[in-house]
Symmetry: C2
Subunit: 230 residues, 2 copies
């Protein structure tokens, strides 16, 4: 499903270059559940933004589902994102002044435009109930706790059952019980719907839910191991 070859991402800051990713190559098969770990600033979000077609490499290639996407136009990449990728952002990126329900229903207007507004809202409600927010449907982001906002972001990424789920530290604001429920939901989608999951985390316990763990250090992949079965 995913094939990165020789990807670099460099930011020019005046005379300095910041190499956020250096010569990254990675393959992920359909249906895998992988975790990405590494120190703060090591390049995980940069990698996720490239995988999610939100950003382009400075050099190197990215094949997603058989198409080379890194040189496509912004419009084409947006279409691919809407149809194929669910993204849980590290900083949530929810629409302010918009209820949890409407935030979660939004992707359906791109991908499932055959649904009536009523059906879209019903599906959004189901996913929100799944992450424990059935009693917060009409709250706006500013009326939600940090972990509740994170769960709205998770629900929004899942509502159109995308083939690829990219989750950037999705449990960072959740207590262990709530976090566990979210991870079990990801595992269920992976096992039962074949959703490919790529999850960035700082927490080894969260990473243990994946079958393969990739370690990034200073923009390079330094380890790529199957999880140790306990």
């Amino acid at each position: 499903l995913i094939k990165l070859v020789g990807v670099w991402k460099t930011y020019r800051m005046g005379e300095l270059d910041v190499h956020a990713l250096r010569d990254v190559s990675l393959e992920v098969a359909r249906g895998e559940f992988i975790a990405i770990m590494g120190a703060s600033g090591s390049g995980k979000t940069t990698l996720m933004n490239i995988l999610g077609c939100l950003d382009r490499p400075s050099s190197g290639s990215y094949w997603l589902d058989g198409e080379e996407v890194s040189r496509m136009s912004a419009d084409k990449r947006a279409m691919i994102r809407n149809r194929k990728i669910g993204f849980v952002f590290q900083n949530f990126n929810l629409l302010p002044r918009t209820s949890a329900l409407e935030n979660v229903a939004m992707p359906l207007s791109y991908t499932a435009s055959h649904l009536t507004e009523k059906e879209a809202r019903r599906r959004a409600k189901e996913v929100l109930e799944r992450v424990g927010l059935g009693d917060r449907l009409h709250h706006e982001p500013s009326q939600l706790s940090g972990g509740q906002q994170q769960r709205v972001a998770i629900a929004r990424a899942l509502v159109n059952k995308p083939p690829l789920l990219l989750a950037d530290e999705p449990t960072g604001n959740l207590d262990s019980k709530t976090g566990e429920e979210v991870l079990e939901l990801f595992q269920e989608l992976n096992r039962e719907e074949g959703v490919t999951v790529v999850l960035v985390t700082h927490d080894p316990h969260v990473a243990s839910h994946a079958e393969r763990i990739i370690y990034i250090h200073d923009g390079q992949i330094v380890e790529d191991l199957p999880r140790l079965h306990s």
Copy 2:
């Protein structure tokens, strides 16, 4: 230093009332290092916003350093915040389009206005180096990773050495090594400068750095225990 008596915080949402805090009473002595834990949505940030004089209780009282602050005007509370409280926000609240260095130097213009701009920037630089961001001084928030932004927020809260440090999930975006360095810095300020620390966390390992742990559930304090010494 801190005395809350019978504090309630209620949000009116149409016909429903959301009781974010219910009859909360709490005392924290000067120089203590306490952790607050509880499920997502249980009321931790609401409690921190009241302790930080950013918000007022719906009913009940709050004595900070001998003054009853809950009924003071917004201006008076802002003055108290600037002089006495360092706050690490769950969502960072950094100024966009402003470098890490300037974000961190900002509180000094209120509290240490005798410093020249050069001295203020030097002090900001020292704190940023302390949290491992010496090579990111001139990056703006959008040019920083999630954990780097979190560390800028931490540095800003510490730069004027406030007597009370309130930190709302300050390690949520940090890998364990970087998180440990931040917690050791808090412990050092607590031991050597007598800074009173109130830290919200979902991570029991983080909470173990405190000497007392308070558990919140559905807006109420349900446990208040000294840490088990291991």
